[in-house]
Symmetry: C2
Amino acid sequence: MSASSRILNLAVIPGDGIGQEVVAEGLKVLSAVLPQDVKLETKEFDFGARRYHATGETLTDADLDALKAHDAILLGAIGDPSVPSGVLERGFLLKLRFAFDHHVNLRPSKLLPGVATPLAGQPEIDFVVVREGTEGPYTGNGGTIRKGTEHEVATEVSVNTAYGVERVVRDAFARAQARPRKKLTLVHKNNVLTFAGHLWTDVFHKVAAEYPEVTTDYIHVDAATIYLVTDPARFDVIVTDNLFGDIITDLAAAVSGGIGVAASGNINPSRDFPSMFEPVHGSAPDIAGQGKADPTATVLSVALLLRHLGYEAEAARIEDAVSADLGERGGLPARSTSEIGDALAVRVAG
Amino acid sequence: MSASSRILNLAVIPGDGIGQEVVAEGLKVLSAVLPQDVKLETKEFDFGARRYHATGETLTDADLDALKAHDAILLGAIGDPSVPSGVLERGFLLKLRFAFDHHVNLRPSKLLPGVATPLAGQPEIDFVVVREGTEGPYTGNGGTIRKGTEHEVATEVSVNTAYGVERVVRDAFARAQARPRKKLTLVHKNNVLTFAGHLWTDVFHKVAAEYPEVTTDYIHVDAATIYLVTDPARFDVIVTDNLFGDIITDLAAAVSGGIGVAASGNINPSRDFPSMFEPVHGSAPDIAGQGKADPTATVLSVALLLRHLGYEAEAARIEDAVSADLGERGGLPARSTSEIGDALAVRVAG
Ligand SMILES: CC(C)[C@H](C(=O)O)[C@@H](O)C(=O)O
Ligand SMILES: CC(C)[C@H](C(=O)O)[C@@H](O)C(=O)O
């Protein structure tokens, strides 16, 4: 790594609800794990419900410019019941994904030692979902006519391009190739959504030819939800569209220990724009400010962030620390947000 | 019931794979349960893979006319790996739903005594999903340009109308009103799919005003998959769109004992067209013809069929028989398809 890369220039978006608390612990662990010669520079951004209520803004062009000047973004949570549904989702979260072309939405699912799963018999779970992040029904295409009348028609258009599908399928094949089991499953609904389904299936087969070592299979999204609860061990890497990915990653998080430990990355592998890392759990306003939130998902998101920036050893140290910490939790009294962060910071530094 | 209604004029579509075997047991139980004075008349239709390979046809206008002359349709399973994906799904199953305007896709989920669930701790599960059956992304709207090139664009259009949404939401409220808990949950993704989401949400609130006794709530589809594995007891009746319904009903079937016991109805409540009842499991070609298929889902589909036609007592007798049979299965050696059918026929007749 070159000398100039030894500054880690991080945009921090604590956001709403428990966001502030969990991000503080994420930064604590990040500071503890970074090598001495790496200088962490953070700039905090006040996005979310507060800013929206004060100014009506969610994410301006100037905001995007300011964010762009960073190596990566760490986000706590965005969303509050006081804001109408859709405003922050479309106006902030999705706007950021589209503006920075975060087409690889990475969501690992690993059932860690000592973590409870709703499934019987503690199955082995260790897979990664690569969800497309910039296309599908998330593009905002569609519209409404005759709104509010008995003749209203509302449409949503799923847009799928060879360009958009191929780049995320390639990313997924590369990830599968790098894992011991080397298996990639395409999840779609190509028997009903035949236009998009053919595109996804054709591209998948084309790229598969370049990865002869990767075993491939295909599962309809409805059947995938069955396997996620009856045989999650069958999955290694999954690649899927934006909406299917949204759905199955929440289910995947639930079966592998809950959204309390689920991390995610909104990645632009080109690094033309900073990638964004966030816990899956959301703002949980009901427990905000009480020190009850588990920062583990944020800390694991920091690990994904470090790996994305090339700090592989540091990422692995965080993941090992989390595993060890969770493995020792069983039977212990509940700890506060900052107690968990402190414990993890000590482990990664040690 | 009038004298002339004492003929039950049933179209039977055994279909592919295990369809033939399970339908035979469904008819056995149906014959056993019907009152003496009801004459069962069945006509078998040879739809599915065989017919497609022989003639290239999946479902012609003449077929639809012939089916139309019946009170209801019992279907085993349609689908075979020898037929390209999508051909029978779009050409038969979906064509039938659209032609007969089967807008209420009814899928009960009940964890019956003695039935294994992949969830830990045998939670209480007893809910019904009312899935819209004729709109959403299932309409076949969409298309492809520049197919096979690196500039291909494929779209899928989800079409949602006030007419289509309101009738299924009304059906769901009526079902919730008739159940002891009187609770209805709308499942959608209205924070992202805002056009369709607003329509669904607005219609839901409008109809809710007419059902003051029904408790309502709203859950995003991704979160719904979490609750289905962590707290399925929270659900009583769910109403949702065609695609979300497809996905969550497979998951619901999995958690409540598997698709081996999951029944469904494709219902046109107006009775202008016959409704169609089918097990959720599909054709399972790997075990076809071996007497291994469990006919329980088909038998429970017969119960839904009877209830739809007004034979409430007979429907309940079948459901009780299935519960009793499943409750006694534990530890017993596996029985064949026809042994299970025989046992159920004896119970409902007795
Ligand atoms: C909040 C929402 C816009 C978002 C999504 O649907 O992608 C969330 O559910 C997620 O999975 O990150
Ligand atoms: C086979 C397919 C067309 C169908 C659907 O998607 O509706 C099936 O999955 C179902 O749920 O009945």
